[in-house]
């Protein structure tokens, strides 16, 4: 399947786009053989540093790398300003929505979001009803997945409001590019992303519990070294200069969460957790879980620890809720969404289901609770048989699915053996919320390395690119 896609460097209609002009000049001066060499250098850098995403299992000696492409994805200062306005508005709405859902539920009373969608949703935590987190922030770290269709059309594909990952790749990609092509960064003014760990630390410190005396103690909570994102957890703890803890290191001591250290128990004020809600507190959520900290929810409810992101934020980035985001944004900010949603059919609604079943070969169909590109159907790329099989699953449990048109995601060139070739990309900027909203100028650009493919997930053969926001 080939879609006529908008290429961000060299659109067919208008020729080379301005953000890429300086880079293009530089590129034309390069010897292709040298570039190929640099590509191999990049892989070596990644292997040496051990930037991996999959756990190398007991039997596996090799670590899996996410392929890295050396052609940057470039965004102009103007484009970025527009994006950040849209993202800020969205993130404000997400936090307002969470506060409302766990308190007065005005939006449900107003009938803008169906009650059932919340009450019957597994991501909704009744334990959070009436709980107001320190500084009133629910989702502190957000990764908003954005796609582009044309010069002016950007859409939000997904709000990752629970524990978005990938920020370590944003940082390492930049580091690698600066090592490979220092001269490029002299020629072109690219806005820095390196201070993300410091910003994250400051942001987490700013939302500490009110009762905290002095500088807050911050820790990153990981499920452990066999988790697939362990590298990132260790990386962030290291870069922020805070402890990397597991559930077994923590317990509740005198109404506070404390970690067991060589000098006894030390109180923790802010916990950046990279574990799911259900593994936080076995007393509250999963009695069978060995990962959690018994009693942490009581400490939380008493306002003695900040958990980032707050438990129960999943209700805001659920795929079924996603389709209501335009209404949600308008309800809380009083304005139309600056960044639109992709039109979405909720298969739970009869009319929509009928339409989706009739147009299954044109649509992308996703599981409401799925992630990582699994359990989805890309209609135009699927065989007739696959479509039929999927239609059966869909008809059996319609409320489990949403459908979206197959969009021609913009492309960006990658370096292949035969020179530059366009591939589809998306963008995940990272947002930090404390007493203010900060967006690091850049993000993670994921790229589908297979020609024509629209699936950018690293678990399905996607790669990454350094993302440049120009200081212009």
């Amino acid at each position: 399947m080939r879609l006529a896609a908008f290429d961000e460097m060299l659109p067919e209609v208008s020729g080379l786009r301005r953000p890429y002009s300086a880079y293009d000049r530089w590129l034309k001066e390069q010897d292709p053989a040298r570039l190929t060499e640099k590509m191999q250098d990049a892989e070596r850098v990644f292997r040496k540093t051990g930037i991996t995403f999959a756990v190398y299992g007991e039997q596996e000696a090799s670590e899996r790398l996410i392929p890295f492409d050396i052609v940057p994805r470039i965004i102009s200062g103007n484009e970025w300003r527009r994006l950040t306005q849209g993202i800020e508005q969205r993130v404000q709405a997400l936090n307002a929505f969470l506060d409302d859902i766990y308190h007065r539920q005005e939006i449900l009373r107003a009938g803008r979001v169906p009650r059932d969608l919340i009450a019957k949703n597994e991501a909704f935590l009744p334990e959070m009803i009436g709980v107001r987190p320190p500084a009133g922030v629910y989702t502190h770290i957000i990764g908003v997945d954005i796609v582009r269709i044309s010069e002016d059309e950007f859409y939000v594909l997904e709000d990752n409001a629970r524990t978005p990952s990938g920020v370590s790749y944003m940082l390492e990609n930049r580091e690698t590019m600066m090592q490979l092509f220092p001269e490029l960064f002299q020629k072109i003014k690219v806005r820095p992303v390196e201070n993300y760990p410091q910003l994250l630390r400051q942001s987490l410190a700013a939302v500490r519990p009110q009762s905290t005396k002095g500088a807050p103690t911050i820790a990153v909570l990981t499920p452990g070294s066999f988790n697939s994102a362990y590298f990132e957890h260790a990386f962030l703890a290291d870069q922020m200069g805070v402890q990397l803890v597991e559930g077994q290191d923590l317990r509740v001591v005198d109404g506070h969460v404390a970690m067991r250290t060589t000098e006894g128990y030390k109180q923790i004020d802010v916990l950046y957790r990279r574990v799911d809600d259900s593994y936080l507190d076995p007393l509250t959520f999963r009695p069978d879980s060995a990962l959690g900290i018994p009693g942490i929810m009581d400490v939380y409810r008493a306002g003695n620890i900040t958990i980032a992101n707050a438990p129960g934020t999943g209700i805001a980035d659920d795929k079924a809720i996603y389709s209501y985001m335009p209404e949600i944004i308008e309800f809380y900010t009083g304005r139309k969404a600056i960044l639109g949603n992709i039109p979405t059919w909720r298969c739970s609604e009869l009319d929509s289901l009928k339409y989706v079943l009739e147009h299954i070969h044109e649509l992308v169909i996703k599981e409401v609770h799925g992630s990582g590109g699994y359990g989805m159907l890309v209609g135009p790329a699927a065989t007739k048989k696959e479509c039929e099989a999927f239609a059966k699953k869909l008809a059996a449990k319609p409320s489990n699915y949403i459908a979206q048109p197959t969009l021609a995601l913009s492309t960006c060139p990658i370096l292949t053996e035969k020179g530059l070739a366009p591939r589809h990309v998306d963008l995940r900027p990272y947002v930090l919320v404390s007493d203010r909203i900060q967006i690091v100028p850049g993000g993670l650009t994921r790229v589908a390395l297979k020609e024509g493919s629209l699936v950018v997930n690293s678990s399905q053969g996607g790669g990454t690119k350094d993302t440049w926001v120009l200081d212009d």
């Binding site: 000696a61 260790a234 703890a237 803890v245 077994q248 250290t261 060589t262 000098e263 030390k266």
Partner: protein, 313 residues
């Protein structure tokens, strides 16, 4: 301040790195004995297993003490938790857990040692290759030690790591001596036969001290000198006194940093002053075996106390 789990990871990472190397050294010494002695090679292998603390588990699996069986069991058998392969695997798992506490060079050297030993020890070792495999193991652990000493900050992370190294090393040296204590006893040993020469050389070889011994003493092996060298010599990096000098030093750094004295400080102090005051004659008079058995017990106690005092058990 460190997480108790991190201190634990560092301590055991280093104990296992030390153990991985000690196993190779023991097999090396056994191999040398088996090659140079015409009879009772099996007896020699038995004492190698005793020194490794693995004779009971070995007997559950094998009936014969041969070079192939013993080296397989001590180097590559993953069902033996102390084999070189198991040790390096445990060391690496610990290193992965405490990755944020290690320099990149240290982590990479451990990871690479694990990868290359895993490849090398994947299949049974051909007897002809045994010497080169033993060399490779010692080289990998030397690389880890090199990057560790060369790049790590001398802070509490370093202290807990060193505690692991020296507790394990002291235990190893004491066990080697204890298994062979009878050949060192004056009454039996001072016959000067070639047989004893081999026995003594084997002891020295299993702590890589057969060459340095000659620099310190003379070319002739004397049991009292050998015992003196391995127990009391301050300069010999595998002697009990040497290990305790460093154990005491690192525990002192910790008590200075944390401003707290624990049970382990008293224990290390006691053992150290006992070693300082000791002469090899007194040790032999009071009974070498008794001395070593006591030492091993105290050393184990010290390890337990460190874990308890610094909350990582």
């Amino acid at each position: 301040m460190l997480l108790g789990r991190t201190a634990n990871g560092l301590y055991w990472m280093n104990r296992y790195i030390e153990r991985a190397e000690n196993m190779a050294r023991l097999v090396d010494a056994g191999l040398r004995m088996a090659l140079t002695r015409t009879q009772s090679a099996s007896e020699e292998w038995n004492s190698v297993l005793l020194s490794a603390g693995s004779d009971v588990t070995f007997k559950q699996k094998y009936s014969e003490y041969t070079a192939a069986n013993v080296s397989d069991f001590l180097l590559r058998d993953t069902s033996n938790p102390s084999s070189t392969m198991s040790s390096i695997e445990t060391a690496r798992n610990n290193a992965r857990m405490v990755r944020t506490a290690l320099t990149r060079e240290t982590w990479e050297s451990i990871n690479e040692a694990w990868m290359s030993l895993k490849r090398m020890l994947a299949r049974p070792i051909d007897e002809r290759d045994l010497p080169s495999v033993l060399d490779a193991i010692k080289r990998e652990t030397a690389l880890i030690r090199g990057s560790f000493y060369g790049t790590m900050l001398r802070n509490e992370i370093f202290d807990f790591s060193q505690l692991g190294t020296y507790v394990e090393r002291a235990d190893n040296t004491a066990r080697i001596l204890d298994v062979k204590y009878y050949v060192l006893l004056p009454s039996i040993s001072w016959v000067g036969s070639t047989l004893d020469n081999y026995q003594w050389e084997s002891i020295l070889r299993s702590v890589s001290a057969h060459r340095s011994y000659r620099w310190v003493y003379d070319a002739e092996y004397k049991p009292t000198n050998i015992a003196d060298y391995l127990i009391l010599n301050v300069r010999m990096p595998r002697s009990l006194t040497f290990c305790y000098r460093f154990l005491s030093e690192h525990l002192k750094f910790l008590s200075d940093d944390y401003g707290e004295h624990h049970a382990c400080h008293a224990t290390v102090e006691r053992t150290q002053s006992m070693l300082r005051a000791g002469s090899i004659k007194n040790i032999f008079d009071a009974g070498l075996h008794e001395f070593l058995a006591n030492f091993i017990q105290d050393n184990t106690k010290l390890g337990d106390e460190i874990a308890q005092d610094y909350r990582f058990n």
